[in-house]
Amino acid sequence: MSDASEMTLEQREATIGGIGCARRRKEDVRFIQGKGNYVDDVKLPGQVFGDFVRSPHAHARIKSIDTEKALAVPGVLAVLTANDLKPLNLHWMPTLAGDSQAVLADEKVHFQNQEVAFVIGEDRYAVSDGVQAVEIDYEDLPVLVDPKQALAKDAPVLREDAAAKDDVGQGPRKHPNHIFNWDVGDKGATDKAFAGAAVTVKEDVLYQRVHPCPLEPCGCVASMDKITGELTVYGTFQAPHVVRTIVSLIAGLPEHKIRVIAPDIGGGFGNKVGAYPGYVCSVVGTIVLGRPVKWVENRIDNISTTAFARDYHMTGELAADEDGRITGLRVYVLADHGAFNAHAQPTKWPAGLFSIVTGSYDIPAAHVSVDGVYTNKAPGGVAYRCSFRVTEASYLIERMIDVLAQKVGLDKAEIRARNFIKPEQFPYTSCLGWDYDSGDYPRALAKVLDAVDYKGLREEQAEKRERGELMGIGIATFTEIVGAGPSRNCDILGIGMFDSCEIRVHPTGSAIARLGTKSQGQGHETTYAQIIATELGLPSDDIAVEEGDTDTAPYGLGTYGSRSTPVAGAAAAHAARKIRAKAQKIAAHMLEVAEGDLEWEIDRFKVKGLPEKVATMKQIAFAAYQSLPEGMEPGLEAVNYYDPPNFTYPFGAYLCVVDVDRLTGEVKVRRFYALDDCGTRINPMIIEGQVHGGLTEAFAIAMGQELIFDETGNIQGASLMDYFVPTAVETPVWETGHTVTPSPHHPIGAKGVGESPNVGGVSAFSNAVVDAFAHLDVTHMPMPHTPWRVWKQCEALGIGE
């Protein structure tokens, strides 16, 4: 019936280019020719530029702001301050965590580089001159940098606006600088496990404050059409629909009059989830001036003000029997949230999904308590290439199990094998309440140990130790929790964390799919098309994927926390299945048989027992617009809003080998093997690319990234001169492997992979560095493992000279 019928099954599969195929990326064609369209490339007629005057002080009262000289600068059109925003009630904005954040500093500044005034001018040159010309008089206030001092009786009160409140969005608090306490697990059972334990270990583990630092900084262009009253905002938004809702709520504009467009995004890694003062000021600017206003932050602004990550001061304790079997886990966390609680988590989860801290291990009792506090640092607390606080949790348990191994004298691979949740225990409910969907941890670890000749490496290490050389082997066997999330326990500002896909099949058999997520480099245009191709039997080449325009895409919660494939990918499969169900009815009509007589094969329905009687999806598509069964609506399209029944639990086993130069403190990563199990693999090429990238970010975090503040709250090294982003020279060569344990509850069995390498990677690097010193009774070394810190350890051991 068609030329396709001449092809073999394999050829037809290849033509479809569906799930499992390493097809090249559709989006690359524009990027490799310089035709990407990032926010700073947007140029609207009459567009002007805005930028901030920022505070040089970390904590100070604003005594006066004089904008007169700035307004006299040629090309400067307006200068906004908190007082200008007050009549609009826009000088403060709600955060995703239920707190408030100053849009422009209102009477007080709370962190260095905080936004104080917004200068709008004809171009960025005029604006820069205007920013220089704004005169602000400050009165210094005592600065609080160390979160450990935040709850002291005599600590300076940072948030005077909130001092009298019993609750700043996340439950009761006990001090003006206290934000929340979050307590989970069975304290009694945990205490009991510790009381009777043969072995206990305890370690203070700081996961330092870092920044996601995507190569493209944050920015937006806001444009108000005064005639129609419609506001369009282009921006670096990982979650454009959420931004639309927030803009509607805080600006008081009806949501249908707001169009949010996320164009191409130059990497996000969590940095582009939040709502920033720059967005609000651009919106106000365009409303005031009637001209489009662009704001694009520079790198220093980016690192010092928009959405840091981590800053978890953790204390971990493990109880175990004499064989190293864990019987209890106790964790206390002091979380430094900066000046405003603007972390990006599902709203009900003040510490995100941190209670995944039992990791890959069958731990009978655990208790976790987290206190969040204010300090004079930038707000944030986003998930930097990980699901919410999962990398902090994973880092803690992966460090602690090594500490325990050293205490009981067990090999670090063996202790993991001994404590793993066993394959037959899945689905598994952890003592902290998570329902792990699927996993096979022993197989993954065994495969890695085999691939690297683990025994041989340990022998080499022993020989080197004899000679006084430092070699470390780090293992991480992590489990993530991603794909937020089931609306029964996940929402953002009350909106359930579902996601969506709408597919339209055109008469000639090509299609367009629109989704509620937004790629920042993950290759959604390619992978979603592959899912739909397999489900619909149309070539992925012929399926356009569109995201990021709230006027056209169905509502979704965006891309972060590895949620695109688990949630929107499932929506894509379900929407495609709806279309296929209708297509089956049309096919039955075309072939004049009953629906039940048809069976599906790659790209067509065929009549059972009559293999030559077929209707291809391409033919059905045309028929859907022309010759339908009696009473059927024309067209071939569907939409699905997918509320996941559960999270997915990707896992992996990583192994890292390092050599340490004890005289310089330099750590050289000799080998890194990463095995990931993300369930069904949609595009192996893209998966491998995600793993390479995530490992490189993990390497940067473990080895060098840190936001440092001096005692007066000055941020140190907030440019790429100092903030560690490794080049091709420092970056190790990566080896990858995989196992496949599909998710039983996901329509195609996929779990998500983008963040696994960061979650597992950081622990593997850090464990390797500490392991190099394990024979010298070192149990923990603080990240990042920069040369000077490692050398200090050598010096303390008397081996640094």
């Binding site: 690359d28 490799i32 490189t696």
Partner: protein, 164 residues
Amino acid sequence: MNKTAVKMTVNGQAVEGQVEPRLLLIHFLRENLGLTGPHVGCETSHCGACTVDLDGTSIKSCTVFAVQAEGASITTIEGMANADGTLSALQEGFMQEHGLQCGFCTPGMIMRAHRLLQENRDPSDDEIRMGLSGNLCRCTGYQNIVKAVRYAADKLNGRQEAAE
């Protein structure tokens, strides 16, 4: 404000403009000429996203004033395709070897790799890594970028069959 006349050749076309002396070359290219392929990533000459080719050298156009490029011949990513409009070996290599993800570093990366291959037709992997060490990428971990440059070198050296 005093403006200065500048003339240069960009992607084979003679261009001119009246510019403030402080106008950075990256802004001349992006704002005045509408060539938005080169990007601004760090502004302190570390990230290399703004890399263009200037008189046979690769430079970071965020750290050069447009007036300093008077009389120069500049190539940006927009001028990198072959004369017949087909992709150059490097562009093809980046696509075939998955040498990009978000694409923000890609124009600078390709421009730098282009000059590297002009100076060293057959670099080793280590030489490629050194050669690209002025360009930061946050997505790929560089491994596939190295492969992409290797792909182009192989193709330019006649060691490779045409890509499928």
